[in-house]
Symmetry: C2
Subunit: 428 residues, 2 copies
């Protein structure tokens, strides 16, 4: 069954109101799904690849059909502009079209198509927004090509440096400069931020949840409360290697025991700082990792996140104190350092409340969800007010061909986005 047919199977056509058309949205999701499609049903559409470019060109065509004025900046970011009744600061909405290898069809495209669908609905109902509105496609959000991420939005905000770009090579060994030539771009254009970024009053992004909260709450759409900035803490416990047979239990300095205690004892700590904080040890390596050898050392990484900086940093403290107290208790050495520390982005409560009001009007019970993953909104949010909506993900799966959001939920996310944007524009 094609993605189009699958989306339409259980679509509730009563959602086709206020200018919205589920079939159009399904058609576009389906057309995009053909670019970089794999037998798995998933797609590989890496940042700055031919596939990402084709996907942008397809959407640019739709933008033009809808009457938008299309521009592209030096980073390959695409903007489709609809003029408002008056001039003034722009309202922008969008997301990205690139994917991880063997990724899904909703992570990114839903946000771009939702922003465009708002224009289609306005056209259908004869609505002209009071201020200019732009649909944005940011390049290379996933960063799977250069092991980076958020390249388009960072360029847009003028955050990239020569030093950073110098170290980017794709898997084939192509430098960043070689790759962006295919976009008729170059370093200079890339590093010149768009003057556009100073003119935006609000950026709103629709994205799939990539989690299971909405599924549990049985709600189609949720309000994002903030975007968690990850801190990556590298911890090394160093003990004393020895023979697993000839070293009595009381004469050991076994770093595996210390690491085991650490992993299990930090598990309750996030709840102590906030409801949204999380800490994860997903990477752990034992050295020398021999069956009959007491290990010399254990290196592990703790991924620590929260949507607010203060509890996140409190959690970093609690976790590092735990590492030190366990090392002391076990008589072994510990070192730790933070090798990544991204500022979390809390979303203004006023904007969250505006979304919640719109949701209630549409009979949705507002569910407030922190975003654990990074998004283009996180980068724009450093200097621009942002609002973010999550659409329900089936089983919380993402970055996977199984990624799924029902057409009902996709359309509902557009209804919420549209009403919210109208409200913000009219209230100015």
């Amino acid at each position: 069954m094609t993605l189009y047919k699958k989306l339409l199977t259980d679509y509730n056509t009563e959602l086709n109101h206020s200018g919205m058309n589920g079939e159009r949205l399904a058609t576009r999701l389906y057309e995009l799904s053909k670019i970089g499609s794999l037998e798995s049903g998933g797609i590989t559409r890496l940042g700055y690849s031919t596939e990402e470019k084709q996907a942008k060109e397809l959407v640019i065509g739709w933008m033009k059909e809808a009457g938008l004025e299309v521009t592209m900046d030096g980073a390959g970011n695409v903007f489709g502009r609809l003029e408002g009744k008056e001039n003034g600061p722009t309202i922008m909405s969008g997301s990205h079209l690139d994917s991880v290898p063997n990724g899904g069809n909703f992570d990114g495209p839903l946000g771009v198509l939702a922003a465009l669908e708002v224009v289609e609905a306005w056209k259908a109902t004869g609505y002209t927004p009071p201020v200019p509105y732009e649909v944005a496609i940011f390049s290379d959000e996933e960063g799977s090509r250069f092991n980076s991420g958020l390249t388009g939005s960072e360029a847009f905000m003028g955050k990239l440096t020569n030093e950073y770009l110098d170290q980017l090579f794709d898997e084939e060994g192509k430098s960043f400069d070689e790759v962006i030539k295919t976009y008729d771009s170059n370093r200079e254009k890339f590093l010149t931020p768009s003057s556009k970024n100073k003119d935006i009053q609000l950026f709103a992004e629709v994205h799939i949840e990539q989690g299971k909260v909405l599924e549990k709450q049985e709600q189609p759409v949720g309000v994002v409360t903030g975007i968690a900035g990850p801190a990556w803490m590298e911890v090394t416990f160093e003990g004393k290697a020895g023979h697993a047979g000839n070293t009595p239990m009381d004469d050991r300095k076994d770093p595996v025991i210390a690491a085991g205690m650490f992993v299990s004892e930090i598990e309750p700590l996030p709840r102590k700082v906030s409801d949204s904080a999380v800490a994860t040890v997903g990477k752990l390596n034992v050295h020398p990792n021999g069956s009959n050898v007491i290990a010399q050392k254990v290196e592990l990484m703790v991924d620590i996140r929260d949507i607010k900086e203060e509890p996140r940093d409190k959690l970093i403290d609690l976790i590092s104190e735990k590492a030190e107290s366990i090392a002391k208790q076990r008589g072994i050495e510990v070192t730790w350092n933070l090798n990544t520390k991204v500022k979390p982005l809390p979303i203004q409560e006023e904007l969250q409340e505006k979304i919640a009001v719109v949701m209630k009007e549409l009979n949705i019970t507002p569910t407030y969800i922190p975003s654990g993953a990074g998004h283009d909104s996180m980068i724009l949010g450093e200097r621009i007010p942002v609002a973010m909506l999550f659409a329900r993900s089936k089983a919380g799966i993402s970055h996977n061909p199984e990624e799924w959001t029902s057409l009902d939920d996709c359309v509902m996310s557009v209804h919420v986005l549209k009403r919210f944007l109208e409200r913000v524009m009219e209230e100015r």
Copy 2:
């Protein structure tokens, strides 16, 4: 400084009594250390290598000089025989001359040279043993060539099979058959056990401790109470992979937490079954092992040892119960299986006591030590009474160029061995 000079530096020449000569022992340790020597000060003398053969030939020369009648069996094991006043069951002592890659100069050679030194001392004092005595060199104890181990002693006891030998290849891809050709041997000879093994009344082995118990007790030599048979338990905790940012703490099935609890909670269990039991997790792998991914599964290996089978098996039960209770508590799957289970070899208490009596006569406080590592004695011990002595290891280091046992301790181990052998022979 040469090994010879280093050994002699702090040698207490008062230990040169009862026919013993420390300088001779030091010379022989030094001459052996030249075969397969490395710049590190260590040696690489793998089983069935040219180096192991050279080392055997060197010792065979000394055996012949001492008047022993030398034979070699199909497995390359060497026996130097001294006839006794009467015929009858033989008393045997020895060890091995092969090493691990970049190994030390005492693990193996000390046991062979100690057994030969007893003959030298008897010669010097004009003593003829009441029964025949043989000095043994077993081939390929470490097993570093074929990733096996104890090959010589197993062949001697008739424990090898064609199936087992079929799967042995060295790092260069040479089959077992090709390699043993260099010993003028072949499969048939190899698989025919020596009739000698039926004629042995006792096998006694001197070996370095490879642990730190004697160093702590400040004793030169200790009594081995048994040889721990390892059981290797493979444990897999399987949870549910997820996004480290988007999965709330309360909605996780994280196998790393379960593995961490398991590792730390099994640590106190060995003490519950015996003073000598040990359990070690030295090998642990997380999948997929990504910094920002809640792991799907953790595979780990528990090395469980004791010198007696009953407490060792009790410990296996306690550890497997712990794996299951933690998995249940964390709501994740666990599977475990034993992929190695070697029978421990307890050493007869009567023989331990005989050694202890001799030690006291020599002003040594008997220290009773379980051997966590396997030795040729473990294989012979399945059908022959064995006794084993440990000589003090500096800092417990072995399988390493830093391996060290002082000449005082080497000579003292020969004094104990010699008196013990005489006592056993005379008491028959």
